[in-house]
Symmetry: C2
Subunit: 413 residues, 2 copies
Amino acid sequence: MPTDSALDAEATALDAADPLAAHRDAFVGAESSLVYFDGNSLGRPPRATADRLARFVTDEWGGRLIRGWDEAWMELPFVIGDRIGASTLGSAGGQTVIGDSTTVLLYKLLRAALDAQMTADANRVEIVVGRDDFPTDRYLVEGIAAERGARVVWVEVDTARGVDADLLRAVVGPRTAVVLLSHVSYRSGFLADGAGLTAIAHDAGALVLWDLCHSAGSVPVELDAWGADLAVGCTYKYLNGGPGSPAFAYVAARHQSTLTQPVQGWMGAADVFSMGPLYRPADGMRRFLSGTPPVLAMIALQDTLDLLEQAGIAAVRAKSVALTEFALRVADGILSPLGVRLASPRDPAERGGHLTLSHPSMRAVTARLWADDVIPDYRDPHGLRIGLSPLSTSFAETLAGMRAVAAAVAREG
Amino acid sequence: MPTDSALDAEATALDAADPLAAHRDAFVGAESSLVYFDGNSLGRPPRATADRLARFVTDEWGGRLIRGWDEAWMELPFVIGDRIGASTLGSAGGQTVIGDSTTVLLYKLLRAALDAQMTADANRVEIVVGRDDFPTDRYLVEGIAAERGARVVWVEVDTARGVDADLLRAVVGPRTAVVLLSHVSYRSGFLADGAGLTAIAHDAGALVLWDLCHSAGSVPVELDAWGADLAVGCTYKYLNGGPGSPAFAYVAARHQSTLTQPVQGWMGAADVFSMGPLYRPADGMRRFLSGTPPVLAMIALQDTLDLLEQAGIAAVRAKSVALTEFALRVADGILSPLGVRLASPRDPAERGGHLTLSHPSMRAVTARLWADDVIPDYRDPHGLRIGLSPLSTSFAETLAGMRAVAAAVAREG
């Protein structure tokens, strides 16, 4: 086990060598002693965002008023969508849009995919989803299956991992309509094989919908290269859009003229302002919109996209791996002796941007840490999630936080 | 016809006697010469909003980080919903919530109502909606009817009015499941009889869903007194929530334990953070939520609610009527001679917060007015909408705008 001062020296050296170190100062709170381990739930605000929002209110909303829609806002969901697509999703333009909440977009795309599959082949009535996936994903699948006369096929997984090739191959077949997969597991941080799982689903004739909530802005995603069909992801985690900022949806160009979604609103219609008698879906990604786009709620996103485009997702991922590897070395040194075990993959190639540490007292540990301004989050069973947002987290912060975890476990354990 | 100077004197006297005159200064742009006649599409921002958003970013999002959810944000959709309910909807607490877009909320509540009615009585398969209602309402009904095996019953209406008692009575009956009604018509400004139409629908055994988009914050609504079942409305018009701000939904307390909506997400589940294996809807209004509430997008609303609570909806409505009556007198004086006719009800008791003026050249007139910083909006066929937001519009502004309309019609006509 490294000595205390050796860990300090290592953190200092890693920060000094970090090409993204300067970006940390772009975030509110970088100067404070608070340790933030929950950027994977709600990212810190960029410092530029307060001013961006205030200027938007006064100059754009207040100055342009309704004219803002024609001048810029009608296209903003596609403009920002394309920036996310290019900077972190591996998506060519015209396939990504900012829409509703993650849940609502998942509903719309799942319905679109299932309805198309069931129409093409009445035997394709199964939706595959992981038993350990995020609740919204499971609840939605359960509800959609009930209302459409489809069937849920659960993939049973170890909570410390996620869905892999063998597990998926065992459940897909000629009855599979859609496979809903998490790229990075919210619980374990397990990083799924995007290309491999997409191919397995396709070989069975199924469509794939990727949940990218814990990937976008942290792990490179290659939707076009994987041949993915559909994806949804959230923007308030590593993309720092603010509490409840709207989600993005991706639909591969080849599906855009055939898939339709059930929430038929004016903003998805072919001619928005003709206000014609019957609904005709727009071409392209617009058909996946429903109501008036949440403009005020999406503009904050642009500050992190500015940083992400500067840094490049490869550098962000490299730092993410370095951060989790460092945290893991510290955990091995000072937490393992206290009975804390890793509930995430040990191989960084199989791991996203967070680590989950397991110990029976983690619920109490979390409360104690929060009281001491060290902010991870807790997920049943016994999981402390250490989320290390690459653009805003330093190695020194990581070390300070891990030491606080050790102290809290020692007291609570 | 009043002389020019008589109109000036009247506007000056009305502004001097207006008890809400001071509120106008609370809005960005009050000092400018621009005439804003489109507060019924996108309300002006309160001056307080820029600072409120900036402080939220730095102090709450940046300062509290993920802790903000436990401390305040989880309840914010209900807190702000109740404020809207009390100040303008005539709703007791616990029945109104801020959710998704208007379109998505209409989808969820329409589905909830239709599914419950069809389950209770397999013959109740008809959804009644006005042929001239806002496109989203019609498109949604069309889509839901198709996916649920229901049938649309269109109410044919004169574009200068809306659905009244006789029209509704003629189409409801033992097959009616749900009636979707607009309280104020987006096109004509026709103000429907809330209590009367609700009673007619109920007598036929139907549920009523009110679209309050053009009422909320301008016309008093009495959902509880009407015995209304469900309502949805938008917050970026008279409630000044900003472009694309989230909508509200109302579900009468007596229905909350029996209705369920199809977009089953974690925020609508009985125990949000238990993340249990199967979806069980929460009690109360929470079950009508789906994804993470759009917190950043809903906080701006509080500035107009502050003003509205101070002023009282009765005073707001009184000013709204005074504004449209004044605009109508000016129109009768200087626009009628140019062939412009009123496409809204003449009786203020049948009219909401906007007037629609019709003339074959109105599309071109609108473009010319916009170029001159006079901002109404245009709706087919030939309709110029004069939206007079009571808290932010003066009589002098109204007069200046109506004169500009007359000049533009004279040039284009």
